[in-house]
Each structure stands twice: as C-alpha cells, then as structure tokens.
C-alpha cells in the first residue's frame, strides 16, 4: 500500500441475500486526488460508498479510509471524513447558523472554532444576509453549497460527495466544482459520484461501475483514448452497452 493512499479498497463485496450489489471491487485513491466514481443507477455506487464511510458493513473484502479499517475502526474513519449525501442532509428546520453550530458540536469543535469557521464560510459563500434564514427556505443550489461547506467544518482528510450536483443549474454546478478544486488544492481528497459526464472530465481519475463491478479505471484522457472516443459520455455508453 502506497504511503499517501487515502483510500485503499481490496476485493470489497456487499451482498443483500443472493443479490451482489458490489462485486469484488479494488482500487486506491491518493491524497489530494479528485476521484470520480461513476456508474448507472443501481450499479452499486451508493452501496460501495456507504461501506467506505462506515455505515454499511462489507460482506467480504477490506477497505481502509484515512488509514483506518472501515470494518473495525468505523468510528475513527468517521472522525476523518466529511460526507454529503444525495438526499439533502442538513436540517431544514434549523437556520444555516444553527446547522453549523450543531454539526460543529458533534465533531467536538470548540465554540471559538465554530465561530471562526462559520465566519470564513459565510464570507466565502457570500451568505451574509442568510445566516439566520432556515435552510429549508434556500434554493437547492445554495443548500448544496452550504452542505458541502458543513461537511468540511472539521477539516476532514477526505470528503465523500454522493451526487452533489443533482438537480442543480449549470452555473451553480460550475461554482460547486470550483469549490471542489479549491479544497483539492488544499490537500483534501475528494471522492465524488455523479451522473454528469462533463463533470467526469473534471476528475483526476475516474472509475466506472457496471452491475456491481468496476469495469474501467483511469484518467479521463486515457479512458477516451482506450475506447477511441472523444467524450466521457461515449466511454460510458460504450461500457454500459458492452456489458448488457
């Protein structure tokens, strides 16, 4: 295992009864990398991700995240990762400020830290007028940006993003990816699932899951030349069709 691998996955498998949702996948993600985790709906992306963030136990295989075993040290994994799910996961009936205080508190941040962090966050996002408005009243794009920032409150080494830009307009998506790059440049490892193939092009490396297996894993550039096409979209279609 390379020293600065933040995620190391070996033969990870998850079965629900007879159904194999994740079938023997192996890969690693380096520090500061933006890793795109692609796949059709039902290909097993979310299940695989849930094993990596310690809320679902693998049936076979092993994975270490931020240096901790997801099976035996799940709580230590959780201390070192940030997570933002597909379903919007801040509390809608709390204000932005209250959400920050709440999640900051769970990670054991001091009130001084929370204050500083929320100030930086409010400045970066330009949220000055909205800190006391309920999260539920924000437009989706704003919610996702706030959720991303909250996921970063405790300075995690890795951030897992599960379809963070689903249903968001192109401009906000663009801004969101700028935020992702900013964090990657600060050394945070980004693990992101998406359905948007243009977003796949932004990733350092991309894996494509089909029916529980990783069928392709490389940089977008290499994948395109390997499949002799000129967009990730075509790579994806070719792979998915071949398997079917």
């Amino acid at each position: 295992m390379a020293k600065d691998n933040m995620i190391q996955v070996e033969n990870l498998t998850k079965m629900f009864g007879d159904f194999t949702a994740v079938n023997n996948i192996s890969f690693e993600v380096g520090k500061g990398e933006v890793f795109g985790f692609l796949g059709a709906n039902g290909a097993g992306k979310t299940t695989a991700m849930k094993m990596l963030i310690g809320i679902s136990k693998p049936t076979h295989g092993a994975a270490t995240v931020a240096g901790y075993n997801v099976l035996t040290e799940a709580e230590l994994v959780k201390r070192n990762i940030g997570y933002m799910s597909q379903r919007f996961s801040l509390y809608n009936d709390l204000t932005i400020k209250e959400n920050i205080v709440f999640f900051g508190g769970i990670y054991g941040l001091s009130s001084k830290d929370i204050k500083e962090k929320s100030q930086t966050m409010i400045n970066e996002l330009g949220l000055h007028d909205m800190t006391n408005s309920l999260v539920g009243s924000l437009p989706l794009g704003w919610k996702q940006k706030v959720a991303f920032s909250v996921a970063l409150l405790h300075n995690p080494k890795i951030v897992f993003l599960d379809e963070p830009t689903g249903g968001v307009d192109p401009i906000t998506r663009r801004q969101f990816w700028e935020m992702i790059y900013r964090e990657a440049n600060r050394g945070v490892t980004i693990f992101v699932t998406t359905h948007y193939m243009d977003e796949a092009e932004y990733c350092d490396r991309v894996s494509i899951m089909v029916a529980g297996k990783i069928e392709a894993l490389d940089t977008p550039k290499n994948l395109k030349s390997q499949f002799r096409v000129d967009s990730m979209n075509q790579v994806f279609l070719k792979l998915a069709r071949n398997i079917e």
Partner: protein, 353 residues
C-alpha cells in the same frame, strides 16, 4: 407544531375531565301506578324529588312501559301494584316491581342502589305513619351507617379522573413524539448524515430524550395549573415528589418511543406500534376500570404497565399526600423500566447496517 403540541392536549384535558364520568345521573324513569293512592303518589314524589332521576312519564300499563324501554326512552320502570296502600296498612308488607335496563351492567347496579335508597327512605316514613295509624308498640330499631369519605369528601369524580387524564395526555404526547422522531429522520435522510459523524450512540439518544423530557414536564405543569384553577383538584402531596417521579416516568416512555422509532422504517409503522401499546396501557392502567377486577393473568400483565404506576402515584401523591416511602415500590419499578427501555433504545440504534 409547538402550539399544536400544547393546545390540543389541554383541550382534551378540559373536555374529557368534564365528560369522563362514572356517575349515573339523569336516569330516565317511568312508572305504572296501579294503586293511585296517597301512599303510591308519595313514593313517586320521592323519585321526582331525587336529582338522579328524570321522571319521563307515567304509563297506564306495564306493557306500554316495556315498549318505551325497548325504544330507549326509559331506563327504569317502577310498577306499583294495585292495593299497594291497603297491603301496607293491613300486612305491613307490600311488593314493588322494578325493571332496569341492564345493558350497561355497572350503571344498572348503581341505579338499583339509588332505587333501594329511595324506597328505604319511603319505607321509614311509612313506618312512622303506620306506627301512628295502628298505634302499635316496638317500632323496629334502625342501624344506620355513617360513611366518611376520605381523600375525596365530596365524592367528586373529577378529583378521581383529572390526575389520571393528565397522566394519559403526558404519556401520549411524549410517546408519539419520540416514536415518530428517529424514524422521521430516517425518512428525511438526516439520520444518515448523523450516522456518518463520530457521534456516540448514547450521546445521540440523550440528545433525543432531552427536548421531549422538557416538553413533557412543561405539559405536566400546565396541566396541573388547569387542574387546580379550573377543576379545583386538591394537590395535597409534595409537588417536587410528583415532578421527580414524572421525570423518571417520562424517561421510560421516551426510551420506549425511541426504541420503537429505531425498529421501524416508516412513521406509519411507528404510529401503529405506538398505538398498539398505548391502547393496552390505557385500558389496563386502572384509570377507567379497577385492576382488582381483572382476571389473574391480566393483573400480572399490568405489572409491566408504566401508566399503571403513574396513575397510582399521581392519585396517591396528589390526593392523599403520600410521601416517598409510600410510593417507594412504584418509584423503584419505574426506575428499572427507565434503565431497561433506554438501554434498549441505545442498543437498537444502529449506526451501521
């Protein structure tokens, strides 16, 4: 949501406390007077004077009166036979026939007692008159019991019911809110976010308990104020003892609610299970029906009913002024339940699946 949580139960308290009565009143009374003498009319007047009976009408025959009972117009029929007065004067003995609608057996029993009391009174008066009339000696001596009603001198049923209804409301609100709570977060998706944080299981459960505990105590306080101001329920015992016990009790209910919430996947399921327990707990709590009259196995089951202990404690402390030593068994049992339920709540909360 907060106004709903407070206003609705208090309206229930006010409505139910006035309506949930075991007193048998306004009994629809009819009579058939085949005698029509001063004695028989005197008897009917006694019934008319009683506040328990509403004299609906007089029927010429027993047959017509029975028909009225069949139609639900009449609950009690008194039939005075012909020669009632004559028999009394001659034999010093006469029979009366009373027909009571006994579909509600308990009410029928009470009605029978009322009727007997009135007839007894009438009997006494008749004896005096007979004594004067016949000028006979050795009038029978009377043994009279003079009851003294402790803890609720005026036999006000509200004194009995209000503490119990208050118990129910506090229980229902706290059980339903806690039962819906975690499962609601499962549905919304925020629970997943919580599970990805390093929060400890017991921290999570304590965090869930606390707001509902405060809510339950506030509800109890408002309920007690209403009991005192509106219903003039005496609060004889120590308030701090009542509050101390209520804290332990609410922890039992909340632990149970959170346990249900952890076990279910949808709010519907949680609601259904909460109702299942609620109905059993209420009907087996001794609030509406005495536990002593239940079959043995049911009495055994009530040992595990937290509401039973809460009803007992509230009535004992509030109305009788019981101290800690009097409610010791209830406190210990409730405490054990609280530990058990909250342990279950913590164990059943799974951060990983």
């Amino acid at each position: 949501m907060l106004p709903i949580i407070f206003v609705l139960p208090l309206i229930q308290l006010i409505i139910l406390s006035n309506a949930a009565t075991f007193e048998v009143k306004n009994i629809k009374f009819a009579y058939v007077d085949n005698d029509n003498t001063s004695f028989s009319r005197g008897l009917v007047e006694k019934f008319e004077a009683s506040s328990y009976f509403n004299v609906v009408s007089q029927f010429p025959s027993e047959k017509l009166a029975s028909k009225a009972m069949l139609q639900g117009k009449v609950d009690v029929i008194l039939e005075i036979p012909s020669y009632f007065e004559k028999q009394l004067l001659k034999n010093k003995k006469a029979d009366l026939s009373v027909i009571i609608n006994a579909i509600d057996g308990a009410a029928a029993g009470v009605e029978n007692v009322y009727i007997n009391q009135i007839v007894q009174q009438f009997n006494k008066k008749a004896q005096v008159e007979l004594f004067l009339f016949n000028n006979l000696g050795n009038q029978p001596q009377d043994i009279e019991t003079i009851p003294s009603f402790w803890y609720n001198e005026t036999l006000n049923y509200k004194t009995f019911m209000v503490p119990g209804i208050l118990v129910l409301l506090v229980t229902m609100i706290t059980l339903f809110l806690s039962g819906m709570n975690i499962v609601r977060e499962k549905e919304i998706g925020t629970l997943e976010q919580i599970n990805v944080t390093p929060i400890k299981k017991h921290q999570f459960i304590i965090g869930k308990l606390f707001p509902f505990l405060v809510l339950g105590m506030v509800l109890l306080t408002v309920g007690l104020i209403i009991s005192k101001l509106l219903f003039h329920i005496p609060i004889v015992g120590s308030l701090s003892l009542m509050y101390l016990y209520t804290i332990i009790y609410i922890l039992v209910i909340l632990g149970m609610g959170l346990f249900i919430s952890n076990f279910t996947d949808t709010q519907q399921q949680a609601m259904f299970i909460a109702w299942f327990f609620m109905v059993i707990f209420i009907l087996m709590s001794g609030l509406f029906t005495p536990i002593e009259s239940m079959p043995q196995w049911a009495q055994l089951l009530t040992e595990f009913n937290p509401i039973k202990y809460f009803v007992q404690v509230m009535r004992m402390v509030m109305l009788k002024g019981a101290g800690l030593s009097d409610i010791y068994p209830q406190v210990i049992k409730t405490f054990v339940f609280a530990i058990a339920m909250n342990t279950l709540a913590v164990i059943s909360y799974k951060k990983t699946s």
